[in-house]
Amino acid sequence: MTNIRSYRALIIEDDFDIQYLLKSILESENFLVEVASDGKSGLQKLNNGAVLPDVILLDLMMPIMDGRAFRKAQRKIDNLATIPTIVMTAGREDQSLKDELCVFGFMQKPVDIEVLLGIVNRAISSA
C-alpha cells in the first residue's frame, strides 16, 4: 500500500498490548497513529485534535465509556460521524448490534492483519 500523504488513524482499545501491536502495524504502513484507552478519551482526542483521523479502529468492551456509547456520541457530531469506523469485538457477530452501530467494518477478534489492512484500505478509499 503506497501512500502519497500519510493517512491518520485513531485506535480506541483498552488492552495495551493490542493497542501497541495495532499501532505498530499501521505505522509500518505509514499511518500516523493516535491511541485512546476508552471511548471518553477517544472523543476527547477527536475534539481536541487539529486534524481528524481518516479511519477509526474501535474496540467495544472498554471501561468508562464503551464502544457502543462512543459510537452513539460520534454519530451525533457531523464532522466526526463521517469518519469511517471499523469495530473489533471479542463478542459474537450480532446482526442487531451491527445494525445499531452501522459502522464501515465489523471484525471479530482475533483479527488477521491482512484482513484488517484490507478493510482499512477500503475505508480510507471510500472517503
Binding site: 498490548d17 509500518s28 468492551m61 471501561p63 471479542a90 477478534k109 482475533p110 492483519i113
Partner: protein
C-alpha cells in the same frame, strides 16, 4: 363395557365396615352426612346473615365449634373486618336485584380464623331456595399451603433465573478474557512473520525478535492462567478439587513466590517488607497454597499504589495454627467489597480489571478445603490486610467440609 360387576348390584348380603348406611333416613339427613364429611368447609347462612350450617371441616379450619357459632352473624367469625360492610351490602343488593357479584363462581379471597390469622381461601357461594326460605351455601377451601408452595416455586425460579444470568455473564466475560490475549498473540506472530518475510534477511534484528517472542510468551501465560481458573472452577463445581497434603515449608514457599514478583513489584513501584517466622512446617498442598499466596500478592501489587506491600508469616504457640497476612497500602475497600470479593464472579470496580474475578473465590475454596479461613480487613492507616489462617495439618472438619460442600 362388560366388566363383571353386575353380580354386585344385589348388595343386601354385602358386608363392609366403612360404608355409610342409609337404610331409612330421609334424603336431607343423607345430604347432612355428606356435608359433615366434606373435606371442604361448608358454611350456610340465612337471609339475615346468621349461621345455620357449620360443618366439621369449618370447625377444624376456622377454630370455632358449631355450637359456638350457630345462630350468630357470619361477620362475627370468618369474614375479615375489611370485608364486613361489603358482605352486608351484598346480601341487601341480592334481595333488591336478584344478583350478586360473588355468587355462583369460584373466587379467591381472605378469610380469618379464630386466632385472627388471615387465610387465603377459595370460595364458592350458592344461593338456595327451600320453599320460602333462602339460604346461602358457601364452600370454602383453605389454600394456604398451595399459596406457600406457589411462593416457594416463584422464589426458586427467581434464584434459578439469577444463576443462569450470572452464568451467562460469566461465560461472556470469560470469552472476552480469552480472546484478548489470543488477539495479541496472533497479531504479534503474524507481524513477526511478515517482517521476517519482508526483510528476507536473517537480520530481522535480534532485539525485535526477542521483544516479539517475549510478548508472545506473556500472552500465552495469560491465556494459561485464565484456562487454569476456568478448569479450577469447573472442578470446584463438579466436586473434583482434590488436595495433595504433604510436608511443606511455608517460609521457603513464600520466599520463592516473592522472588518471582520482584520484577513486577519494581515496575509497579512497590516496596516489599517480609516478616516471616523461620522454617514453619505443616501438612499442606504446596501447589494449591502457592496458588493462594500468588493470587494475594498479585492483587497487592496491582493495588499497592506505589507504596509498601508486607507479607507476614506467624505460627501460633497455642494451637499451632499458621497465619499469613498480605498487606497493601492502597485505597482499601468498602465493607460490601470486603466480604463480596471472596464470592464467585464478584467484580469490585466498574473499571474492568483483566481476569475472571475468580481468583479470590478459588483461593477461598482452597483455604477452606484445608480447614482454614481467609478474610480481608481494612487497615486503620489505609490499605487492606488479607489474612489466611491454616491448621498445621488437615483437620477432620476439613475433610468433612469437602464431602458436604463439593
Amino acid at each position: 363395557m362388560e366388566i363383571g360387576l353386575e353380580k354386585l348390584k344385589n348388595s343386601e348380603s354385602f358386608v363392609c365396615k366403612n360404608i355409610l348406611e342409609v337404610p331409612n333416613i330421609s334424603y336431607l339427613k343423607f345430604v347432612d352426612e355428606i356435608v359433615e364429611n366434606s373435606l371442604d368447609s361448608i358454611i350456610a347462612i340465612d337471609a339475615g346473615g346468621k349461621i345455620c350450617t357449620w360443618n366439621h371441616q369449618a370447625e377444624a379450619t376456622f377454630g370455632w365449634t358449631r355450637v359456638e357459632v350457630v345462630g350468630k352473624p357470619l361477620i362475627e367469625t370468618v369474614i375479615p373486618r375489611t370485608y364486613c360492610e361489603a358482605h352486608i351490602d351484598g346480601i341487601k343488593n341480592f334481595f333488591l336485584t336478584g344478583e350478586g357479584a360473588v355468587l355462583n363462581r369460584r373466587i379467591e379471597v381472605s378469610a380469618v380464623n379464630r386466632q385472627g390469622v388471615e387465610l387465603p381461601v377459595e370460595l364458592f357461594v350458592m344461593p338456595v331456595r327451600f320453599g320460602n326460605t333462602i339460604l346461602f351455601y358457601a364452600f370454602i377451601r383453605d389454600i394456604s399451603s398451595v399459596k406457600l408452595r406457589e411462593m416457594e416455586l416463584k422464589k426458586l425460579n427467581e434464584k434459578l433465573a439469577l444463576s443462569l444470568h450470572q452464568r451467562d455473564e460469566f461465560l461472556s466475560i470469560a470469552s472476552h478474557e480469552l480472546k484478548t490475549p489470543l488477539t495479541s498473540l496472533r497479531l504479534q506472530i503474524q507481524l513477526t512473520d511478515r517482517q521476517l518475510r519482508k526483510l528476507n534477511t536473517p537480520e530481522y534484528g535480534e532485539e525485535n525478535l526477542e521483544r516479539a517472542m517475549a510478548m508472545c510468551y506473556k500472552q500465552i501465560d495469560s491465556l494459561s492462567n485464565i484456562v487454569g481458573d476456568l478448569l479450577d472452577i469447573s472442578r470446584v463445581h463438579a466436586g473434583r478439587l482434590v488436595f495433595n497434603f504433604a510436608e511443606t515449608d511455608m517460609t521457603a514457599l513464600i520466599v520463592e513466590i516473592v522472588e518471582r514478583f520482584a520484577e513486577s513489584m519494581d515496575r509497579a513501584g512497590c516496596v516489599l517488607d517480609l516478616k516471616l517466622e523461620p522454617k514453619v512446617l505443616g501438612q499442606w498442598d504446596r501447589s494449591r497454597i502457592e496458588q493462594v499466596i500468588t493470587n494475594l500478592l498479585s492483587n497487592a501489587v496491582k493495588y499497592c499504589a506505589k507504596s509498601k506491600v508486607t507479607v507476614c508469616l506467624e505460627k501460633s504457640q497455642v494451637d499451632g495454627r499458621v497465619k499469613i497476612t498480605v498487606s497493601d497500602s492502597g485505597r482499601g475497600m468498602d465493607p460490601k467489597t470486603l466480604s463480596g470479593i471472596f464470592e464467585p464472579f464478584f467484580r469490585a470496580d466498574d473499571q474492568r480489571q483483566p481476569g475472571l474475578g475468580l481468583g479470590l473465590y478459588i483461593s477461598r475454596r482452597i483455604v477452606e478445603g484445608h480447614g482454614g479461613r481467609i478474610w480481608a480487613e481494612n487497615k486503620a492507616v489505609g490499605g487492606s490486610d488479607f489474612h489466611v489462617e491454616l491448621p498445621i495439618a488437615p483437620t477432620v472438619e476439613a475433610m468433612a467440609w469437602r464431602i458436604l460442600n463439593d
